[in-house]
Amino acid sequence: MSTEADIASMIQRVALRDRAALAQLYPAVSAKLFSVCLRILRNRPDAEDALQEVFIKIWQRADRFAAAGTSPVGWLVAVARNHAIDRLRSRRPASESLDEAHAIADIGRSPEAETVLKGEGRRVDRCMQELEPDRAGAVRSAYVEGLSYQELADRHSVPLNTMRTWLRRSLMKLRECLDR
């Protein structure tokens, strides 16, 4: 089992071009990062390819982890999310099975993983509860599934501009709550 400090040290060694460290980092975090790719891309072959590219980016950009100042798992998830979202946005709208994405969400997390990942902070959860439930839901699915404004508008059956306003207001409220 790897702690946050272990993972931070693996990333730092990866930044020093240590291949053995990459081989250690992969089993520690690949299931989490694969989940990110699957949830956002909603297509297994695409997610498998994206995961490979994510690790290539981690190898190339590990030195930037130093400047990021976030938790090591948080940084890795951000690399994976950004990559998956870019990939999603750059492909043409395709027929996607939402059922597949929802089925994936039901797979449980190992207790070991819980221990590593609980450093993610819980304050935003409290602030999310201050939002109206449908807006909190929109924020959550935007982040977790990488939905665009248009897809969110369709899902919630509201006009595009309304969805924009919902999310921007929600972000402002979250910022205000987080700063308290």
Binding site: F34, D63, L171
Partner: protein, 242 residues
């Protein structure tokens, strides 16, 4: 509920919103590229993005682990390092030699400093061309001493601890100090032991020469949050030709 209220926002909150939208992932590809181009130039926007990433990271718990196919790692290795997906790489052998170097460094630190400084020999063999060495040390109790060795041919700056300070909750970040009023330039974060190697970016290589100053500071785990030195200098030294 009208868009005019959004338009009247001053730039600060507006950029914070844009950073939030970027991190949420709702922007179009074009807008994402625009934000990323600005991130490279605007530290305030980069800080806002980092803050949102940190704030929203609690939602990462929604990503329930899914084990990827078994062959994925071999594919990654082959894409990164070519088809020979073994462990006998130069990087690994370098690391092994660093482990050897560390044990030697602990065994006979003082002698080693003198040896390196006056003979210009590097553990494991003679060094190519003219190297640059620096001994980085601090004045205060608990500071550490490092030996740095720069190989101009490869652009690799190797570091090894001669004595170790108590820096467990922090990261050691290595800086090039240009002198004058210029801020220190980060060369990267070192492993907790202070031992490791840094590939100096090509654009910085011309600045490495006799008399340049290296410094190591204590930074929050993972390194300076804003790219500038924030913690105390625990070791400093000048490069010289041995």
């Amino acid at each position: 509920m009208t868009t005019t209220s959004d338009d009247s926002e001053p730039d600060g909150p507006r950029d914070d919103l844009l950073a939030g939208e970027y991190v949420l992932g709702v922007l179009s590809l074009e807008d994402r590229r625009r934000v990323e181009a600005r991130l490279r130039q605007e530290p305030a926007l980069a800080a806002a993005v980092a803050r949102w990433e940190d704030n929203l990271s609690a939602l990462n718990a929604e990503y329930a682990e899914v084990t990827p196919p078994a062959e994925t790692y071999a594919r990654i290795e082959s894409r990164l390092f070519g088809t020979s997906a073994g462990t006998s790489s130069s990087a690994v052998s370098l690391w092994n030699s660093l482990l050897l170097w560390r044990s030697l460094a602990f065994a006979c630190s003082a002698a080693l400093v003198a040896y390196l400084a006056y003979n210009g020999e590097w553990i494991g063999g003679s060094i190519p061309s003219t190297p640059l060495v620096a001994e980085l040390s601090g004045q205060q109790e608990g500071s550490l001493t490092l030996m740095a060795h720069y190989d101009a041919d490869s652009g690799r700056l190797q570091l090894a601890p001669v004595s170790v300070g108590p820096a467990q909750q922090h990261s050691l970040e290595l800086w090039l100090v240009p002198g004058g009023d210029d801020p220190a330039i980060s060369l990267g974060v070192l492993p907790q032991t202070g031992e490791g190697a840094v590939d100096v970016p090509p654009q910085l290589r011309p600045r490495l020469g006799e008399g340049v100053t290296f410094a190591v500071s204590l930074e929050p785990l993972g390194g300076s949050p804003n790219g500038a030195r924030t913690g105390p200098i625990v070791a400093v030294g000048q490069a010289r030709r041995p």
